[in-house]
Structures are given as structure tokens and as C-alpha cells.
Subunit: 533 residues, 2 copies
């Protein structure tokens, strides 16, 4: 039943092969305004699920004839070569075993919690630190690889495409003096929005981890404002090591925030169907759903999924492909009680008692399966790619957020009626069954997700085409300087006109005092006169 | 030499005929995502040049199979029927002679100014009042035409397309309970931006008539902030009669600003090639250049313009098609001294001494002429449509702004090197010749306008297609509620979190006072103790 995915090295994986065929069908849908300009693009991607959208653009750019070079560490979670781009491999100070151990930390956190809240929080925090450390190590091994950097400098790249959540690519772009195109879901503590000079009034733009909506009570606005005030400090703390790297690598007194504010275009993997409407800058382009191009399902799966009751797709993202034994049996017990078939992405040891309707595979063609008319439900961790695939193909979701933006994504989708949220840490066979049966049998979920899907897919240009368009735009015009707001160059006193307000307030105050003094003087004279009379 | 345009009634004018052919060539370029949905659109246009873009959308919507109804007053400057839409005509309390007299006021203002500045300003102000009065009269005659309004209410329209600078259409949309699509260049005193809930930090978003750039000195920021603070009051003053109409027509206590804040989509006829980059809202779509589709030039003109030295196009917009005699001869004298041919849109009495290289016509196919490779220069009043036609076809411009946004447009284009500005009120043959020769002979103007043109035309979707797309979007989805920012529903104290700031400041102050009191207390005790010792 189990087909473990190739996990070692970066030889073409099953997934890499499959996703090469993304573009086989959509030649017709390519942008009408594609020009004859062919350029030279450097891609500095981020590992994990962030690679999905980045790879889609790299592939499509290469397919259109541009020279595309992707810089990849010699060991990574899922990055690898592709049909339409070259790779530059750089050594890193860790091996596959270490990456696997970091990745499997999630499994440990899923253990049935006899552990106290404090212990779990401590574990989670130490895991985050490990991930951050891994990121720093990867970045340093690239930035301070002098021979690779000078090799890249000689390639005459027109632009860098990168995910600035890890600002390695942004630093390289600045070093090479070429413009940057950012593809991202977002950066913690609004570093992206603030660097782009984009206003985010705390009165109705909820800060990310507050869990607030755009309609806040007074108390919520107080908290939200405090968080907004703290954000610059928090992002300084989060990126302090990158700030140091920037200084060392660039040889100028410049931090990550300033480097990012030079970005030409921000491709944001969001959609206002799910996010609260907020101000945007002209160089921000929304490309949520960039990963939903339909590929051809694997033939073996196609025949297996066809059946009267349809099927359920179950994946928990790149980082959680394995669960502790007792958690696995909770899921299997629930699946045994439904007539639908279940395809589960699972890289761990497959238990003996797997029900007949369940197929556990090391890698599943998630997007293709969701596009299949037989897909009845999608059990997902609500990662930023998965939710768009579910949304695009209008499959109601049972969402089990684990971390990062997943709680936010799940809540937004649940608010819109597209699915239910089930807590994966305290899950039982009953709670899972209840959630699953709700989305399987209550037609309102299907109806709501269909409405949302229609709105999401109603856009003048496909997200992938739009991303490629703006990437080419930046390459053609050597940046997009005319889109850079002047506000970026102001300090915060100037930006918020606090000096102007101080002046105006002083003038008003001065007038007030003068008037009061005058009145006092008149009153005194008047009273003196009266006394004399 | 002179072919006067049909000026009376709204029988199909030459222009109307010509512009019907806009769409003959561009079927292939129509949006790839056109759906099979066919709807019912009401168009409430604004007269004058504002009609140009509106008509383009109305025509294209009709051509795509939608039912389109345009409401037009029985007397107007340039609105009239078209091939692809129906018209509803409503009576107005003025006649053609009155409109002509208002339109010809410009001619009077062009008189060689032996008149003092005060007299000229007074004249200009009285002309503006006359135009505003005309607008109010037209609006009232439509809004309070009960039979027409109830007829419109029965038509089952899906949406209203309108120019909200005159908010008649917006009021009708609210009455009918249907969503609005706005097409506009802008509304004085930022009523559009403020109603859309769009932030405009006064630190780098210059207010319209200040003439500032996005890089302001402290003094400029003070003035800009003061203007920004006054804007709500100024727009209340400008729209007070419409506020009254709204109350009377809708029967609810609602002003124009509130009605506009309900708009589904704002199609803005601007381009960031010319405007300073600034925050935008997700329901704002930039469609500058909507009017640049190339039509076929009139055959008679085509043969005339071909020649070794090329030709100059000279138009001063809808409102100024005629000049005082002495001003006309200044132009003719200058044209006599250049080898280029000149095509001049001119509806007045043609003088006897017109040079052989000059053709004065009551209507010219401006956009087609500019698209002709022989076009060497464009003498224009820098209206919002003309500049995009010049920009689109990369023709260097001699700009003679008269009023409205024209000074701003001219300055922005001149700053970017696309042309020169000449003051039309103090013009002499020499100053005109100097400006004209500069753009004709200094290749930098041509190079700069070509660069700008390339940037302007580099966009994922054509402005007309994009406008039609969002119009259809609003009709398909009965609005675009998910794009409406929550900030619109807050009052300004909440919006700017002034209550939160007050609370936080109080808390800080209280802590400060407490600390000072504590320190005093300690100090006192300490000094008492010392005294006792």
C-alpha cells in the first residue's frame, strides 16, 4: 500500500517529475502580452512548501525561453532540479539526517499529550529555534561562499526572484546591484508590509497572530495598536542575525528592512476572498492560487479513486508526513467508519491494520486528486498552498492547523463556510468523524466552497501568468522604480507628520494662551475700573 | 479648409460614427476570461471629455452582448447614441444656446489680457459657478423625473456604471439597490480616495492643487497637511447641493460621501507612469489610457498628412474648440514658420489668411492622427484623455494647460521629459515657436516619450478590457462586497485610533505621575530621617 517517496539527495523526485508536466496543457493560457524579450533570472528559493510557487514560476520562465538559474543547498527538504532551469548547488554545514531530525520534530509534538502545556510550549519553541538556526546556517553557507557569489556576479542576471521571509536572495540582489521580485505569503511582524511602505491602520487591519477580524472592539484595537507599535522591534529581534549578515556581506550599514524596501515587485500569495481588504501598494500583486494548475493524475490512483462514494484526500503538508502510532490509529479508526476511500500522504511505517478503503502513500498528487470530480473532502493542515488547491477545486475541508499561518487560514475558511476546524493535538476518532461527516453530508459546505471558488477563480489574469508577467516586467525595465513610494525614504516622524502636528499644536496652543492672557488682562482692567468706580 | 462638426441635437455625429469602428479590429484582443454571462447595465455618464472613456466601455459591453442603457440629457455637449447601446433621453431646463454660451466662456477668458488679474479671476470663478449650476440642473432634472426613475427601476439592471464626480448615477444606484462601478479621473478634494477608505499620508501624497511632488520640504508638508485636514470640509461645501438632493431623492439621511463609499469598483483613469506612487485599495483599478485604441484615420486626412516633414496635431479639448481672433493669428503666424503640416481642431470662424500647411477642422480623429507615424508633435491642453493618446503613440507634446487637472498633467509629463509647457494666456508667436521647435528638433523629447510610452503600454491587460472585466465582475457577483474595507464604517476617531492613543497616553502619564509621586515621597521620608539624625 505504501509507496515511500525518494527522500535522499536531490535527484529528481517523483514530485519533481510530476510537476514538470504542469505546463503541458496550458500553453494556450499563457499571457497574451508575452514579449520577445528573453532575460537571465536568478532564483534564490526558500525550502519547504515555499518552494511550490517559486518552482512554478522558475519552470514557466524557463519554458518561455528565459535563462533561469536556481540556487539550491546540497541538502534540502524538497528543492531539486527541474526541466526548465539550471541549478547552482552550494554546500551546507549539515547533512540529510539533521534535516530529517528537524522535520520529524513535528511528529514528537503530536504525541498524545500526557505532557504539560509548559513542556509542549518549550518543545515547540526549541523546535522553532532549531528551524531558525537551520535557516541561518543555510544563508551563511551561501552568502559567504565567495567563489559561488563571484560566479553569480559574473552571470549578468537581470533580476532575482526570491522569498524574502528568508532574505538571502534580497541581500544577493543588493550585492549584485539588480532588482528583486519577491514571492511570499507574508513575513512575521509585517516586515514585508512595512518595508514596502504600505499603510496598515491598526484600527481595521488586524495583526497576524492576534486572531482578530477587521471589525475590532475597543479593547481589541488597543491590543492591535500595541502589537503594531511593537512590530518594528519584534522584526528587529527576529532578523537580528540577518541584519548582521547584511552588514558583513554587503559591507554597508544597512539592515534587512532597508534592503527589502528596495524590492521592485511583491507577489503576494494571498487572495482577498480569504484576507480582510486592506490598503495595498502599487507594486504589490496578489497571486494567491499560483499553484493550482491542474496536472494529470497518476494512472494507478485514478483507477483506485473511482467509486460510488468518492474519496477523501488527507495530507498535512511538507513538514508533517508522519504521525505517532496512537494518532495514526485514531485516523484509521475514523476512516474505517466511512464509505469513502481515503488517500493519505504518509511517509512513516504503515501499520498492519490499515482498512481497505485507505491508501497511504509517500507522495500524493494532491492538486490533481482535488481536481478529480470524486473528491468529497480534503483533510488538510491549512497551509497556504493546500487551502488554495482545495478552494480552487471547491472541495470542502476538514482543517487541522499546526502552526505558522495555518490557524489564520483555517479560521478564515471556516468563517466563510468552506469547512470545519478540528484540533489535531486533542483529536479523537469521534471528533474527527464528526467533522468529516459534517463536510461530507451537509451540502452547505459544498455550496459555500463552490461560491468562494467561483469568486477566487474570477480574475483577469491567472496568478502564474501574472507572476511571470511582473517578473518579466522587472527584467525588461531593470526594476520598477516608478512604483516606489516616496514614503519609504522618510523617517517615522516625517512619515506620520508628527513634526507638522507638533507645529500645528504649538500654534493652536500659543493662540489659546494669547487669547486667555488677553482675556485675563481685559478682565483685570475691567475689574480695576469697577473697583475705582 | 474647415469642416464644421455637427453641433446640434444628438443625431449621430461624425465622431460617434468614427468611434463605432473602434472595435472592428480588436476582437482578438478581448479578454481571455470573457464568460458567457450576459447582464443588464445602466450607464449614467458625465458630459464633456468624461464621456470618451465611458462611451468606450458602454460600446464594448454592448458589443459583447450585454444590454446597455445610457441615460443622456436631451441637450448635451458631446454625448449621443452609439451602435451598441440604447439611450434614455431626459428633458433638461436649458437649451443648446445656453450650453454653447457656457462652453464659449473659455474663449472669452483667452482674450489678450488687458484685463487685470482680479477681473480674470472673477470671470473664471463665475464661469465655474455656471458650469456647476448646469451640472446641478441636469442632475435634478434626471433625479426628480419620477416617471423615468420608476421606468429605470423596472428594468432589472445588474449595476450602474457612472462618473462619480457628478454623483447622479451613484444616487440612482443606491435608490435602485444595485452596485456601482465608477470610472473617473478623480474628484476634487480627494472625495473619491476618502470615500473609498484609501489612506493618503500627507507626508508624501501631495494634495491635488498644491502642485507639490511626493518629495516635500517641511513647509510643504505643513501646507499639504493643512489642505488634507480641510479636504472633508471643502468637499462638503462643493457637494452640499448634491447632499441635499441625496436626502430628498433617497429619503434617508445620507450624504454623497457615504453613498460613494458603497461603490463596488473604482476604475481610475490614471497611470503610475505619471502619478506619484501611493497606497491604493483593492477595489481600485488603474485604467489610464482606456481611450487609446487605434481607429482607422479618415481617408481624406491620411493623404493630406503624408509628407516629408510630418505633421503637428493641435487640439485644446472639448471645451476650447475656438479662440479669439488675435490668439488665432498668433498660432497661425507660428505655424507659417515651420515646414510641418498642422491639423487644428477649430470650430470657430476660419480666418482668410490660413497658411497652406494648416488645416482647421471642426472635428479631428485625434487618436488616429497621433498613431500615424508622421505625427511629430502634439499641441494639447493636457486633458486627461489627450495626454494618454500622446503618450500611447509616443508623440512629444507642447502643453497649454487651461484648468482642472491639466496643469498637473502637463507638469508631470514635462518633468518626465515628454514635452514642454507653454502658457496659453500669455502666449506669443515666439514662445510658441520656441516650444514647438524644441520638441520637434531636440531628439531627447522623442526618446523620453518613447521610454514612457513603452512603460505605459507594458501591462498585463489592456485598460479597456480591464474596465469591461471589472464591470462584468460586479454584474456577475452582484457587487464586490468582499473588497470593501472595514475602515469605511469607522468614524475618524476610531479610524486613526485617537481613542486608543488617548488611553495609552493617559496610562503613560499616570505611570509617570505615580513614579514622580513615589520618588517625592521617598525623598521626603529620606530627608526627614536625615533631619532627625
Amino acid at each position: 500500500v505504501c509507496v515511500p517517496a525518494a527522500k535522499h539527495g536531490y535527484a529528481k523526485t517523483e514530485e519533481a517529475e510530476a510537476s514538470d508536466t504542469i505546463f503541458a496543457n496550458d500553453t494556450a493560457s499563457s499571457s497574451s502580452s508575452s514579449s520577445s524579450y528573453l532575460g537571465n533570472l536568478l532564483v534564490v528559493p526558500m525550502d519547504g512548501s515555499h518552494w511550490v510557487g517559486m518552482k512554478a514560476i522558475a519552470q514557466e520562465m524557463g519554458r518561455r525561453g528565459h535563462r533561469v538559474t536556481v540556487v539550491i543547498p546540497e541538502v534540502s527538504i524538497r528543492m531539486g532540479p527541474g526541466k526548465y532551469y539550471d541549478t547552482e548547488i552550494h554546500p551546507v554545514p549539515y547533512d540529510r539526517a539533521y534535516i530529517d531530525s528537524v522535520a520529524s520534530a513535528h511528529k514528537d509534538m503530536m504525541q498524545k499529550s500526557s505532557q504539560s502545556f509548559m513542556v509542549r510550549t518549550k518543545k515547540r519553541f526549541s523546535h522553532i529555534l532549531k528551524v531558525i538556526d537551520l535557516i541561518h546556517g543555510t544563508a551563511e553557507s551561501l552568502l559567504f561562499n565567495d567563489s559561488l557569489i563571484s560566479h553569480l556576479a559574473q552571470q549578468g542576471f537581470d533580476a532575482v526572484l526570491t522569498d524574502p521571509m528568508v532574505p538571502t536572495g534580497s541581500l544577493i540582489a543588493r550585492k549584485l546591484g539588480i532588482p528583486t521580485i519577491n514571492l511570499l505569503r507574508g513575513i512575521p511582524f509585517s516586515l514585508d508590509v512595512n518595508s514596502a511602505g504600505c499603510p496598515s491602520p491598526p484600527s481595521y487591519v488586524p495583526r497576524f497572530f492576534t486572531g482578530y477580524s477587521d471589525k475590532m472592539s475597543f479593547k481589541e484595537r488597543v491590543v492591535n495598536t500595541l502589537v503594531a507599535l511593537l512590530e518594528p522591534l519584534l522584526s528587529r529581534l527576529l532578523y537580528w542575525r540577518f541584519d548582521q549578515m547584511a552588514y558583513q556581506f554587503l559591507g554597508e550599514e544597512v539592515g534587512v528592512a532597508e534592503v527589502l524596501s528596495d524590492s521592485a515587485i511583491w507577489l503576494l500569495r494571498i487572495d482577498l476572498i480569504l484576507e480582510f481588504p486592506r490598503p495595498l501598494m502599487p507594486n504589490m500583486v496578489l497571486v494567491g492560487g499560483i499553484n493550482c494548475n491542474v496536472r494529470n493524475p497518476l494512472p494507478e490512483v485514478r483507477s483506485w479513486v473511482s467509486g460510488e462514494f468518492g474519496f477523501v484526500v488527507f495530507t498535512l503538508g511538507t513538514m508533517v508526513s508522519d504521525l505517532p502510532e496512537e494518532k495514526t490509529s485514531i485516523f484509521l479508526e475514523a476512516f474505517r467508519q466511512i464509505p469513502q476511500k481515503v488517500i493519505w500522504r504518509y511517509t512513516g511505517q504503515v501499520p498492519d491494520n490499515v482498512p481497505e478503503n485507505v491508501k497511504m502513500m509517500g507522495w500524493v498528487p494532491q492538486n490533481d486528486l482535488l481536481a478529480h470530480p470524486g473528491a468529497r473532502a480534503f483533510i488538510t493542515h491549512a497551509g497556504s498552498h493546500g487551502i488554495f488547491e482545495g478552494l480552487c477545486h471547491a472541495v470542502p475541508m476538514v482543517m487541522m492547523p499546526i502552526g505558522a499561518d495555518q490557524h489564520h487560514n483555517a479560521q478564515r475558511l471556516a468563517d466563510k463556510g468552506a469547512g470545519v476546524v478540528v484540533d489535531i493535538f486533542s483529536i479523537t476518532t469521534e471528533s474527527l468523524l464528526q467533522g468529516l461527516n459534517e463536510v461530507l453530508h451537509d451540502v452547505r459546505y459544498k455550496e459555500d466552497v463552490q461560491k468562494l471558488s467561483a469568486l477566487h477563480k474570477d480574475r483577469p489574469v491567472e496568478p502564474l501568468d501574472l507572476s511571470v508577467y511582473w517578473t518579466e516586467y522587472v527584467m525588461r525595465h531593470k526594476g520598477a522604480k516608478h512604483l516606489k513610494p516616496a514614503g519609504i525614504d522618510l523617517n517615522w516622524i516625517q512619515y506620520f507628520c508628527l513634526d507638522v502636528i507638533a507645529l500645528l499644536a504649538s500654534v493652536v496652543l500659543l493662540f489659546g494662551i494669547l487669547i486667555v492672557k488677553c482675556m485675563k488682562l481685559c478682565f483685570r482692567k475691567l475689574s480695576r475700573k469697577r473697583k475705582r468706580d
